[in-house]
Structure formats: structure tokens, C-alpha cells
């Protein structure tokens, strides 16, 4: 059975996911597209023979839409996800699930009331082969109980529209999600340390930032976010346990020796770094939808947690203080103890 997907939002990432569902992932077909910019929706839809809808609500209601993919502007996510839940349709929402904790909780409550997991949030790192192998090793006990995680998240540059808050909300949010999953633990507080900023940036930007997180079990995470590091896209993650250390590999790269140097290339952007993870993410989501299974990827609760923690990180930076996240207890519906 081919899963018929309706896509809300035909910006860069939306078009990229339409391409992925059409050309790379089997078992899916994009049948519907909507966008606030109708011309953009029409262009994206034409390329794959999909219908255009004037708005998300119409798209979600359409008979030939089995599942919904939300890639529109962040503040619109919550409304579309709630509509999909109301329609009883599986919905994959790019991060953030919603921009406020309140909206996230409304989704959590709606899904809980519905009684079956319909929502999946687009945190693709959980699908990266390196992180997956790292989690297997951590779970195996081979490095003992985790005590610390050291991370770096480096982009070569960012557009002028990137604001200081986005280091937490858009960049660190990926580590926030993947480390909660890796450690099977909850982040309870955040602190931000500001090194002097690089001179190679837009003047309004605080870059780099060092974020310090503590988990419920007492694990400490330090995360360097440096979005104008110039030299390339570079993701580092090292988990230190009682008995050893496990480290995310650099992507495989051909080694060249010339002119007194042994060199390997560093990736120029994130697209290449996580392309396989995106493929796997959608392949597994489509397989779950086709089989009529509950969503197994990052849940609405994970979306809530990511929003709460990244918002707390912004507050920590602004206040210069350690902020507790104030997260609610995890409901039993999402595997919590309550």
C-alpha cells in the first residue's frame, strides 16, 4: 500500500522532503501540497502531480491524504498538528512541535485523549547511524554508567536572519533531543556561558555559546554551539562513562597527502551530514504509517521537552543564571512513571 502524504509548507525543507518522499523513499506518494504562498505550492505540487490546497485544514481533511507532513513556519505548527489529531491522521511535524510550552501541552493532551500516538517530530539525529551505534554501546553497558557528554555543533556560517536565540531554539535543540534519547534521561536545568564572540559574524549575534545541561540522574552535558566557525559543518559528541568513552565518528572522507599535509575534507553543510538520517527517518515513518502502527519516532512529549528545554536555555542566557526547566512529569501515555 502506498502512503499518500499531504505536505503543508513548500519552502526549502518542504520541497526537499517532497523530493525525498518521491525519489528516495519507497511506499509513499505526495498527493497534496499547501503553502501560504500559493504559487510556491503550485510549483512544488506540479513537479510530483499533487493537488494544491488553499490551506492546511483542507489538505488534512482530503480523502487522498493518509498522512500529513508539516514543514511550514514554526508558529503555525501547533494548529496543523491539532487538526491532524482531530482528523485521526498520522502527522510528521518538523521541529519545533510548537513554539510555546503551552501549545505543545495542548497537542500532548489532544493526542492522549485520542489514545493512540499519531504525532512524530522531525528530530532526525536519532536516525543517524553514528548516534544509533553510540546508543547501542551506551545501552550495552560497555562504557558503564554515563557521567558526562561533551558536544560541539558547528556551522560554517549563518544568514543574517539568524538571531542569538536560535542557537538554542534551532541549533542546540537537536542535541537536546538526541541526548535525552541517547541517555534515556531528562534535562532538568540549563546554563549558558558566553565566550567572547567571534568577529566573523553579524554584529547582533552572540556566537559561540557554551550551554551546560544537567539531567535528572546528574549527568552533565556541555555543548558548544558555534554557527560561524568558518571551516565547515562539524558535529562532535563524546559520552564519558564510568568505564570508558564512546565518540561519534567524523564522516568517512578520503585522505589526501600532498605538500606536507595529510588532509581529509570537512563537510561544508549539514545537508550531506544528515542526508542518510533523513532518509531513514522517513523510511521508518512511512513503514509505520503503512503498517498502521503507532508512531515510534520522537513523540509529542519529546517535542514538548525540546521546546521547554530550549526556551529555558534562552532564558538562562538572558539572565546569566542556571534555569530549571520546570518541565511537567512525563505522563504514562508517553512512558512516564505517573
Amino acid at each position: 500500500m502506498t502512503v499518500r502524504v499531504g505536505v503543508i509548507g513548500a519552502g526549502w525543507i518542504g520541497r526537499e522532503h517532497i523530493r525525498r518522499l518521491t525519489e528516495t523513499v519507497t511506499g509513499a506518494r505526495v498527493t497534496a501540497v499547501s503553502d501560504i504562498d500559493v504559487a510556491r505550492a503550485e510549483e512544488a505540487a506540479a513537479r510530483v502531480g499533487a493537488r494544491v490546497f488553499a490551506n492546511g485544514a483542507g489538505l488534512i481533511a482530503a480523502d487522498d491524504v493518509d498522512a500529513v507532513l508539516v514543514t511550514s513556519w514554526g508558529p503555525t505548527h501547533a494548529g496543523h498538528v491539532l487538526d491532524a489529531i482531530a482528523a485521526g491522521k498520522p502527522v510528521f511535524c518538523e521541529k519545533p512541535l510548537a513554539t510555546t510550552a503551552e501549545d505543545c501541552l495542548r497537542i500532548v493532551e489532544a493526542e492522549t485523549a485520542h489514545g493512540v500516538r499519531l504525532v512524530q517530530v522531525g528530530f532526525m539525529r536519532r536516525y543517524d547511524a553514528g548516534y544509533r551505534r553510540m546508543k547501542q554501546i551506551v545501552d550495552s553497558g560497555r562504557i558503564g554508567e554515563p557521567l558526562m557528554v561533551h558536544c560541539a555543533h558547528r556551522n560554517p556560517t549563518v544568514p543574517e536572519s539568524y538571531r542569538t536565540d536560535m542557537a538554542a531554539l534551532d541549533s542546540a535543540v537537536h542535541e537536546i533531543d538526541v541526548l535525552r534519547w541517547l541517555l534515556d534521561d531528562e534535562i532538568v536545568s540549563a546554563q549558558v556561558v558566553l565566550p567572547r564572540s567571534t568577529s566573523k559574524r553579524h554584529p547582533h549575534l552572540k556566537d559561540p555559546q557554551i550551554m551546560l545541561f544537567e539531567t535528572a540522574k546528574g549527568i552533565r552535558i556541555d555543548l558548544e554551539v558555534f554557527v560561524n566557525c568558518r571551516y565547515g559543518y562539524d558535529i562532535q559528541c563524546e559520552t564519558v562513562g564510568e568505564e570508558g568513552v564512546v565518540r561519534l565518528p567524523d564522516p568517512a572522507a578520503v585522505g589526501v597527502r600532498t605538500a606536507g599535509q595529510h588532509s581529509t575534507e570537512v563537510l561544508a553543510d549539514w545537508v550531506g551530514r544528515f542526508a542518510d538520517a533523513f532518509d531513514t527517518e522517513f523510511r521508518e515513518w512511512i513503514a509505520d504509517v503503512a503498517a498502521g502502527n503507532e508512531a515510534t519516532g520522537p513523540s509529542a512529549w519529546d517535542g514538548y521537552a525540546a521546546t521547554v528545554i530550549s526556551n529555558a536555555t534562552v532564558e538562562a542566557r538572558k539572565s546569566g543564571r542556571i534555569m530549571t526547566t520546570g518541565m511537567k512529569p512525563r505522563p504514562a501515555f508517553y512512558g512516564g512513571g505517573a
Copy 2:
């Protein structure tokens, strides 16, 4: 347009390719299967809703077969490929194209007479990201003119059915093809040096073997083939040029530090090593077929060359002498100068 593929041969590799065309590669559908073992064909066909044919000829002739995939026993390849050319249908043939130089040449002549490239041979390494990047670097001139290539092809173990000849015919043939392509050069002679054999092998087997090739330009290749190396599947390739060296990377692997050791995993078999290459190989082949393009992958001529060179390598080992390959000049149809 979905390409309807008929698959001749439902052994392990045939079933793996059926799975790939069904689950991993978009734009294709397996509509027909045949195998000398009918029950095996039926089982494979049932899984994907394909029809079963009593033999390759019937399958090739079928209306709902747009393109043919040959994965049957080596000695049967030539007949199926010739039938496909006669039917004017694109055909992807797993290596070897044929087991004798004569049969390869009959295919070359038939395709030349047909006037359009229909045949592609299944040498997947040309689709591996590492080899592709290596070729880009060699072609760029960054390491200068290539002078030598050092290779190792190691399998942890082989089944008892693996004979000494297969080191050249089944194992080294991959390097033979990929190095001809990498260097854009022709192999003109082969020599085999036999180290003492490992004691960890079937008694009839000469393992390891070191194969020495010379190209038309005078580049020297040494290739260790060691199919009972025990520790893992390991492919090494280093090209040495006038100005530098380029080396194939090891697959990315999580690093672990425990108990006095820093360790990364070596792959246990070739399936994981070249899974992405197989995907890319079929994705590009299906895209070519769907677009009505001529085949762009390894050609019938490449299949002929691989057979001639690997056969010469077997003779070199048996005779203990340097064997020239006696390859015919490359026809203009395949980009040759004649």
C-alpha cells in the same frame, strides 16, 4: 513512469536486488521472476506480487518487462544478455558478463550492431562514495599523474565452495574493474605472487594471493586478496601519484575507549560495506532506463575486459609467469580510438 523489471535468478543476490528494487529504490517494480528452481522463483515473486516465468527467454519477451536484471549462475549470463539485446531491452547483468572472452565479445558485437548501449554490468564499487571521491581527486590532478596503486581485499572467511581461481574471478575482479575506471587506463599484464598460505583455510585453497598488474600507461598495481583474514571485511586502496597520495577511507565507525584500548569496529562482511553503493547503482540504472537514456554504468566492454584480465590472472598464478592479457583494442562504440 515506473520501470517494470524482470529478474532472472532468485538466489541470494537476486532476492536481495528484488528487495532493493521494491523497498529502497523508487521508480521501479519487479513484475517478473524466473529461476532454474521454480519454487524459489515462486517464493520470491509472491513476496512482491510478480509473475513467475519458466525461463529467462519468456521473461525477457514479456510485455510487462521493461528491463531485465540477470543474477543467475555465471555461465548462463551470456545467453540471457544476448536475448535481452535481441529484444531491445535494457539489461543489468551481475558480474561476470560472461565467463569466457568469446562470449563477452559476442555480446559486445551484438550490442554494437544494435547501435545503442543496453547492457550494464554489476560492478558496484564505481558507485561507492569513497571511490567516487578518489576518482574526482585523481582526475583533478591534485596528486599528479598516478604511478602506483596499492590495494587489499580481505574477507573474514569464505565457504568451502570457494576455489583458488575465485580469488581472481570473483574477488579481484572488483578491483580490476574499479581501477580501470579510476585510472582511465587499461590493464595489460598480470602476475601472481603466492605467500605461504594461511593455516586457517580449507586445504585446497591458496590464500592469500598478491596480484600485480601493469597498465598501458605503466602504472603498477599491487593487490592483496586474502579471503580468510579472520578479523573482518576490509577494503584498502591507495593511489600514489607524482605529487601526492589519495586513500580510500575506512567506513565511519564509533570510537570506544575502554580497558586500555581505543577501538573502532571493522565490518563483518561486504554487505554493509557496499550497501549504499548498490543502492546508488540501481537508483542510477533505473533513472537511466526510465528516462530512455543509454546505459551509463560499466559497459559490455568493461565486462569483457574484466573477464579477460581476471582469466589472465588465473593463468598467471597457474604458470608462475607474467601474462599479458591479449585484450582486443577498444572499439569506437565504447569510446576507443579505433
Copy 3:
């Protein structure tokens, strides 16, 4: 001219340095030894034909002692160093220079009054080839202005006598010194974050600790000190600048591939890690003394800074707060601006 060295303190490190000055470093001879444990002094002295002195004062005064090496118990350092300055003799003092800021300042004042640098403090990392190359690269501007340094200092295990304060005073003090030198900058504040402690430790110990330092220029340093990491002795240091990153190498180690793993050894202890640095440190010190040059290694001021900063780090851990170091301005005698 052979430099005649008197060694105060014949414990493990003292005997190791006597061996180094006798067997590894040319141009020096140990002529005098003292230790609070006379038998220990006698044994060490006998091995190299040196005289035994009842106390440091007598040894320092001896005619056949050109230069003094202090490797006794930390609280006794200041007295011996002051005596050596009073005698106008070059003195190499193992860290710490003194255990209190006050005593360090007395030494600084005495040396300043003397008018020529006589004191060198035993921070050997400045002599490690990796750190030296790292400093050359930072100084060259190749990675731009430094913004952050990420470090780890891991020991496999520590004896029961190791107390929580020693993570700062004995372990981190090496990074404190080498980073001040590497960055040519001063550390102005310290914070300590405590992950949950490993269960593989003595019950009284807080281990690991994460120390956060800020420099005068606004560079941020994070340093993991983990003295029961179990797997080996491992020193990591990465400097992140505006244009790139430079990283200390792991020691060269033979690579082995067996049983599905590619492995290299991690060192079992610090002795092997910094043996070459110790050799270079003493070779350069002896060369300076022989030539009648002023000491060029870590100065009394560096010893003061290390003591002040490591003491502030202890206070930061105890208080849970960010502590400023309260360091005095650097005098002109030590290259300061005043």
C-alpha cells in the same frame, strides 16, 4: 661545564629526576641529596655518588652545588626556594611553587629584589611536542583569535590518599599553567560543575569534576578532570578559534586489526605520556644554567598564578559559585604592563 645539581627530596619524583639528570640529560651531575628520611636520601645519593645533606639549607649552601632541584613535600617548597634565591643559585621547583598565594608572593618579591630570574617551576607540559606545536599554530594566527578551549585530563585511577581538592591543586594545575602559556592570557575566574560521581572511586571523592575558566580576553575553557576513568591516561585539548580548530594529538600507537576491531593502545599512566617533555624540560634548564642564562621556563609568577587559580577553583567547587581569582597585576619584572 657540567652543572652540579643538589636535589632536595628523594621521593619517587626526586629519584626519577636524579635518574634523568644522570642517565638522560647530558651536562649535569647530581652531587648532593637531602631528604627528611635520611635513609632514603642515602640510598638515592649512593646510586650516583652524591653527598647526603641533613637538610635543604646545608645542601643549598654547599660549594659543589651549582643549582638546586626541589622535589620535597609541597608545603616545604617555599622555604627552599627562598633559601636558594638568598644564595643566588638557580632553583628548579616542582609544582606547586608554594601552597599559598602569600608564600608565592614572598618568592616573587625576593626574586624581584634579586633582580635576575633564578626560579623555574616544574610545569612540564610546556615542553611537550604536541602543546608546543599547538602554540606555534595558535600564535601563527592560522586558526584566528582563540575563543574556547576544551580539555580533558583523565587518569585510570588514583590512590586513596587523593582528596577531592587535588583535582584542582594537583591535576588541573597542569592545564591551568599550560593554557595561560598557550593563550598568552590570564585566567580571571573559575566555576566547578559536579556531575554525579563515578561509583568506581573512593567514597570520599568527587570525581569527575568539570572546571570552567574565563580569561581576561574572554576566552572560555572547560576542563574535565576525571581521575578514575579506568580505561587509561588520556589528555585531550582542543583550541577553537575564529577560523579553525587545533587539537592535541593522541600519542602515536601501533594499530592492530583483529577479531572485528581496529585498536590502538591508550597509555596506562602519565609517565609515558610526558617522559619526553620531562627530558626536554631538564635539558633546557640545564643548558640555561650552564650558560649562565636567566631561567626561561615557567617563572615564579607562573607558580603564583597557578596556585591562586587552583585555590580559587577549590573555593568555587566548595561554594558552588563563580570565583574570581583576585590575582595581583603582573609586575614588569615578569613581563607585565605595570
Copy 4:
């Protein structure tokens, strides 16, 4: 007791060893120097307060010469070594021991008649930490019985005086010695394969060359010698055994990430690569001499073997054939079975 060393030959390597014995290695003093160029001898001697001798014979006979170091022009080595044996003095001879097999055998016979090992040949790689660790691992059985060794010996460039024969006689001779020792096996034949030569060389030179050796046990060695590789000095060695592989490490080098590349430096010449090995070689030799022990390093027999094998390698290149070395059986005096 200080060992008083007389040095015959004050060229670059002679002066370097005088410096090493004076500044780096304890327990030795250079007391005598001779050179065919008297002015050069005088200059070198003056620097360390040594006497100048008109010729090697006089130097060897001098009362204040306990041990002799021969670093003169290769063809003169045999005479000096024979004189030293006649005088009953330990002699360290830079490679080659002698340029002909006959001269080597005369030394072997003289030493055997003397009855105690006096001669050590300057093959420093046996003292390199990487090779030593590799040998420990091979000897431990961890990689099983060795079957193959793959080596590369690359120099960035050579002076015009370097002739094609020197690839075997001066360059490969280091691998010939160290592999005999590493494998505890004898090389019995040599073959040379000539890739097209690099255009970046003197016109008379065949460069690179690939040398193929077989040992008595049937181990196969392939060695690329490429003395105009341009990019740096690079020594590679991989031993492949029945159960695994062990590989010489690259020298530790700081890693830099800038401008899309992760880079480490390759050494510019051999001096840095084997400086520590030279130090260890002389430290152990001086310790043996001081203790009155027999020489424990590469023996006269090893010098004979290296000369015979490297000469056979030259013949193999010239003839284009596989040459057996025709080495005599190892005498019992040198640990042979006879």
C-alpha cells in the same frame, strides 16, 4: 665510567653523531676524530675538545679511544672495522658494513675468530618505538603467523647525486634489515617492478621502484621506494598475519581544522622521523660498551645480509628477473643452526 669514542668520518652524519654523543647521550665523550678532509676533522674535534688523527688506524690505536664509530665513505668501512676488531675494540659502523659481500664476510670471519661480538651496524629502525611495539605484537602471536608485509619508503626529494641503485643500497636497506629482525626470518629472493617513473626527478633516475622479497618461511614483502614523492617523508609498514594486521603509526601530529580541511602535518625529512631511534640506538650501544657487554644491536652478520640482499635487489632490477640472494648459511656464532 665514561666511554671515550673515536669517530672516523666527520661528514654530516658524523658530526650529527658527535653532537648526539656529546649533548644527548650520557656516559660518552668523543675524544678523537679523523677525516680524509683534515680541516673538517679539526673543526668537528675543536667543538668537543677531541684530538684529531691523520687516519683511522691511528685513531683506533689511541689509548684514549675505548670504542670506534665509523661514519666515513662506504667503501672505507671494511678496513676500519677490521682494524677495530684487530685492536679488540667495540666498533659501531654506519651502514653499509661493507659494500661487497666478500668484505662483509672478511669482517664476519675476523669477528668470529676474535670470539666476542665487537661490531654493531647502524640500522636505527630497530630502535624506533613503533617498530619495537610492532615486533612485540608479532612475537606475541596476537596477529598469528605473519604472511605478508606491505611497506612504503618515501622521501620528498633526493639530491642529483642519488643514483638508481641507491634505492636498494641506501633506502630499501633499512627495510631489509628491520624486516629480517621483525620477522626473525631470512630474505631469500628479490624482484623489482618498475612503474613509469615520476616526471619530477633527475632524468637518470628510475623512481619509484617496487621491490618484492620472499623469505625462507614464504612470507612475501612488497616495498615501494619513492624518493621524489614530493609531499614529505613517509614510512609505512603493515604486517599481515593469519589472525590480524599490525601497522606502524604515523608520527603524532597536531590536527588542524580550517577552510574545509582537517589536516595533520607530514614530516619534511627523515631526521625528525628517526631522531628518537638514533638516540636510543646510541644510548644502548654506549651502555653495552660501558658495561663491557657484547654488542646486542645489528651484527656483522646482519650487515652481511643487508649488503647481499640489497645487491641482489640491484641485480634483480637490472636483469628484470627474480634473483636469489645466494646468502651463506648463518654461522652458529651469529645464532645460526650450523
